[in-house]
């Protein structure tokens, strides 16, 4: 039982990380019809900006904010310069975002090198509580809390503000929104910047989770995030939260119960080792195929109810 609880906390914190990446991915897809393959690179940049600021200042909250801001700026520039000229050209979008993702990743390697970066422990968040066999690292609780704050903040934005109203209408019919006198492109830019900022925040939060930054972390997380988005229903905001929970928990439970790995291999970092992560990817894919067969629109896709997010 305590093992199960330990795994569950790990799974939920992993879900919180996936959610931060997939929320933006899903909103961008829903509003603009773009599957942004550069999203993993925003995550990666978030991790490295966080590392740089934290390493220099030792100020953890400042480093998180810096990553969020850098991601938003990177997203805004990306939308304006690379995405805007190729709206409604899906093939170009795939090529451009894939290419951009590679370039941004290479830039990280050029600046920081391929070797992982290590850093001091996070002040106030390095403790692990233990009740019998139930381990709760405080950092994982922090990650869960951040995930909940992001979930609630974006939900409030979508549900209760004019910008949110425009985004929800835009997901349904951007041309009609424009015919009402609203410049949809500006909203696209804002959503792209927000999505990229959240992905970068995800990367920043993720680095201490695995105690290092590595240049391949963007790609790994992008795959999971895409699965989360499809699973949750393309363009559905709450769907991506549900999808993240399913994938996060599955990626922790399955390797453990399938291969009977020691809980210690998931603790304190909770990020699957190589064997685990291929098993985790496999189970994600199996889940994805199963859901797509039963509910091709995803778990929460195409909800036609008021306030359907």
């Amino acid at each position: 039982m305590s093992t199960f609880l330990t795994l569950t906390v790990s799974g939920i914190s992993l879900a919180a990380l996936f959610f931060m990446v997939s929320a933006g991915l899903s909103l961008i897809f829903g509003l603009m019809g773009i599957l942004n393959f550069a999203h993993g690179a925003f995550f990666l940049w978030g991790a490295y900006i966080w590392f740089e600021v934290f390493n220099r200042t030792g100020n953890f909250p400042l480093a998180l904010l810096a990553a969020l801001a850098a991601g938003a700026v990177l997203g805004a520039v990306t939308e304006r310069v690379f995405i805007r000229p190729i709206y409604r050209r899906p093939l170009s979008q795939i090529l451009v975002t894939l290419g951009l993702g590679l370039v941004l990743t290479q830039l990280v390697i050029a600046i920081w090198g391929v070797q992982p970066q290590y850093f001091a422990s996070i002040p106030g968040l390095s403790k692990t509580w233990r009740v019998g066999d139930f381990y709760v690292p405080s950092y994982k609780l922090f990650v869960i809390a951040i995930g909940i704050v992001v979930l609630a903040a974006v939900w409030t934005l979508l549900r209760y503000t004019r910008i949110g109203l425009i985004v929800r209408a835009g997901v349904e019919n951007p041309a009609m929104v424009e015919s009402l006198g609203i410049n949809v492109r500006t909203v696209f830019l804002g959503v792209f910047a927000l999505g990229a900022g959240l992905a970068a925040l995800g990367g920043a939060v993720f680095a201490p989770y695995v105690n290092s930054t590595t240049t391949d972390m963007g790609q790994t997380v992008l795959l999971s995030a895409i699965i989360v988005v499809v699973l949750g229903g393309l363009g559905s905001y709450l769907g991506s939260a549900v999808g993240a929970l399913v994938i996060g928990l599955a990626q922790i439970y399955v390797p453990y119960y399938t291969f009977q790995l020691e809980t210690s291999s998931l603790w304190p970092h909770g990020w699957p080792t190589n064997i685990d992560s291929s098993a985790a990817s496999l189970i994600s894919l199996v889940l994805l195929v199963a859901i797509l067969l039963i509910r091709p629109q995803g778990l929460m896709g195409l909800k036609l109810e008021p306030g359907g997010l």
């Binding site: 209408a169 349904e172 019919n173 015919s179 009402l180 006198g181 609203i182 306030g307 359907g308």
Partner: protein
């Protein structure tokens, strides 16, 4: 073949042209759909655009709105050029749009649909919404329900109300009676009569001739991407040969 169509006649009262299209050409996916459309919409009048299925009526409205690019020609609103501008520009200049098939936002509530349309200075604000509810009592009833849950007729009313949320110079309305029950069509006719009597300026695409005759001042007939006839509404209804040729009634 080139027919000279008399454009809005400078009639007895000094009627002002609000919206004016000159020699508009529009291509969709490489096909030449509009082949030189010219028409005028006079202030305070309802101008009806008639024509068979596929004649290019919706394309004319969507081109005017800016949702489709015109390859050539000019579209002016109170003398200001709209061609080459995005749809939000036309809307902000005072073009209200009720598209074919209504296009209400089904994932939003009725009231959210109305609020979305309200923009800053031009908006009629809470009074505008109240006015819409007075005009369409069904909408008041359904205000916090999903627009997707409403009947076709109610959705049409919502689409019209939505276009009236701001002070418009002209409203483009595309086949409001399409697919609706006769009783709803009658209701809509009353609405458009009162809009006409209040002096709204409207460009109305309509296939229902009886409806068009009831609410329209002037008409144009569109055929295969060209304007082939135009005049006063009563001239059309008195000319069975014209009706048979272009509209098929």
């Amino acid at each position: 073949m080139s027919i000279q169509i008399p454009l809005a006649t400078a009639s007895v009262e000094t009627a002002k042209t609000v919206l004016s299209l000159r020699n508009i050409h529009t291509y969709i996916a490489g096909s030449h759909i509009l082949q030189g459309i010219s028409l005028d919409v006079t202030e305070g009048q309802t101008t009806v655009l008639l024509g068979r299925n596929g004649a290019g009526k919706s394309t004319t409205l969507r081109t005017t709105m800016g949702n489709l690019p015109a390859a050539q020609g000019s579209i002016t609103l109170d003398g200001h050029e709209l061609r080459g501008k995005p749809a939000y520009f036309a809307a902000r200049q005072g073009v209200g749009f009720v598209p074919e098939d209504r296009e209400v936002f089904v994932s939003l509530t009725v009231e959210e649909n109305l609020k979305l349309a309200q923009r800053g200075g031009a908006s009629r604000g809470a009074a505008g919404i109240e006015q819409a509810y007075t005009l369409f009592p069904d909408l008041r009833q359904a205000r916090s329900r999903s627009a997707g849950a409403m009947s076709g007729g109610q959705q049409q009313m919502l689409a019209i109300a939505r276009a009236m949320m701001n002070r418009n110079r002209v409203m483009l309305v595309d086949e409001p009676t399409k697919g609706l029950a006769p009783v709803v069509v009658k209701q809509l006719a009353t609405i458009f009569e009162s809009l006409r009597d209040e002096g709204e300026t409207i460009l109305l695409v309509e296939q229902n001739l009886e409806f068009a005759a009831r609410v329209g001042h002037r008409f144009y007939v569109l055929d295969e991407g060209r304007i082939v006839h135009g005049g006063r509404m009563d001239e059309l209804t008195r000319d069975p040969e014209l009706l048979r040729r272009y509209i098929g009634v």
